[in-house]
Subunit: 281 residues, 2 copies
Amino acid sequence: MGKKLTVLGPGLLGASLGMSVLERGLFESVHVWSRRPETRDKCRTLPWCTAVHDSPEKAIADADLVVICTPVKIIPDLLEKLSEDFAEGSIVTDVGSTKGSICKAAQKNLSDKVSFVGSHPMAGSEKTGLEYASADLFEGQACILTPTDETDPTATAKLEDFWSQLGMKVGKSSPAEHDRIVAAISHLPHILASILCEQLTKSNPEWKSFAGKGLRDTTRVAAGDPNLWRQILEENSTAICEALKNFRGTLESFSNALEQSDFEKIEDSLAKGKTFRDSLG
Amino acid sequence: MGKKLTVLGPGLLGASLGMSVLERGLFESVHVWSRRPETRDKCRTLPWCTAVHDSPEKAIADADLVVICTPVKIIPDLLEKLSEDFAEGSIVTDVGSTKGSICKAAQKNLSDKVSFVGSHPMAGSEKTGLEYASADLFEGQACILTPTDETDPTATAKLEDFWSQLGMKVGKSSPAEHDRIVAAISHLPHILASILCEQLTKSNPEWKSFAGKGLRDTTRVAAGDPNLWRQILEENSTAICEALKNFRGTLESFSNALEQSDFEKIEDSLAKGKTFRDSLG
């Protein structure tokens, strides 16, 4: 795709990206910028960081591809702030887990000489921070690209190729549909895991010692960073409210069936759930 | 504990028990009975089955320990049917995931010459059937014993020792408290996973291709057998209705906070959830 990749915000995803790209020889150099001086110092010791910059403007100079990996809330501001500094002909993307407001900010602020396409590599973890980074984080995972009607198709194709080379299964949707998809398959499951854990804090603390693998798996994502997830829910609250409303309706029907001892309906619900889960593989 | 162990209903748990007990030399022989002729034929080919019987009465004759591993709904009837046939001085237990009605049936039907203590080894899986059995299924998992005021403490101590020798972390509670515990930490999580999957069947089927590890983990248990789970929910519906009511209240508060953009409250909920999940390890 080019010679120089710039990662803005080398956390778990950004650092994994840098490692992965160099290991596969997709770029000659990986330049990074982090808001935090201590992260910049850390990066200077890491073999995959070709250069560490004190400002994002310096980091993106002459970059062929810029991937913004900062917390999702900062991305629109960064796009606005850096709008004049992206190199002519460069491709800019991000890894934010919501896409509506980010794609709007890109469309509003970036000039025609730069191609922006939103990316959402779904390869996060409940762990955050570059110390958990690994070169195979993306392998086998899904990535959603969110081109709009204004997006240059060549840039979309190049990015599709880029994520595929990191081992990802790439799909495409509009930014708005993306946000509805992740509300349903990622944000809603996260909320249910969190609320289940919140609910269990109200029980006898000794009950915890009986927790099995089922509870551990069901709630694993609830260990995610509350502030990062607050930002995600804030960015995607409309789609999430809709998903929550639908879920609560289905849960209410199930509860009513249980209270009325309608076990045919209960088994039918469980069977539908199993069919879906089995189809996930 | 003795020479002869009898397993009634060698499914995933019963077969794993047989394998595990012989591997550790805890009993000299493992006798089994299954309702299904094809399962009995299968058992005759398995190295850990010392003897396979065509009737439960024959299987339990002279047994030192009888472990009933059939589906939970059948256990009370079996206890009634076999009440006169358990060997004098034998210990009888079960592995059912609800305990209230089973312990009541034991108390009502068994004579003083037999000691019954309910067990719930929490070592199941979304997979069922003896082909998934393994000798280390119980290793490191929790087991709840449910002695009552009438239970012989010697029998309870022996069973505690038995499950411990299979690697389990053994705890005790009353049958009623057990049912509230599992409603909260096992049955409610199962229902949420199932309903989430049922809800997702109503979405665009293409969205499924973007499912990540988070969704897979959160919903893994929903692949469980719908008919087995119907029985569990049927047996424990009172405690589950209570747990569901509480959960739905907490979820409603969260939804309201999201609709009102009260993100301080959202972050507070997420943080409480994380604290609980982190404490599970």
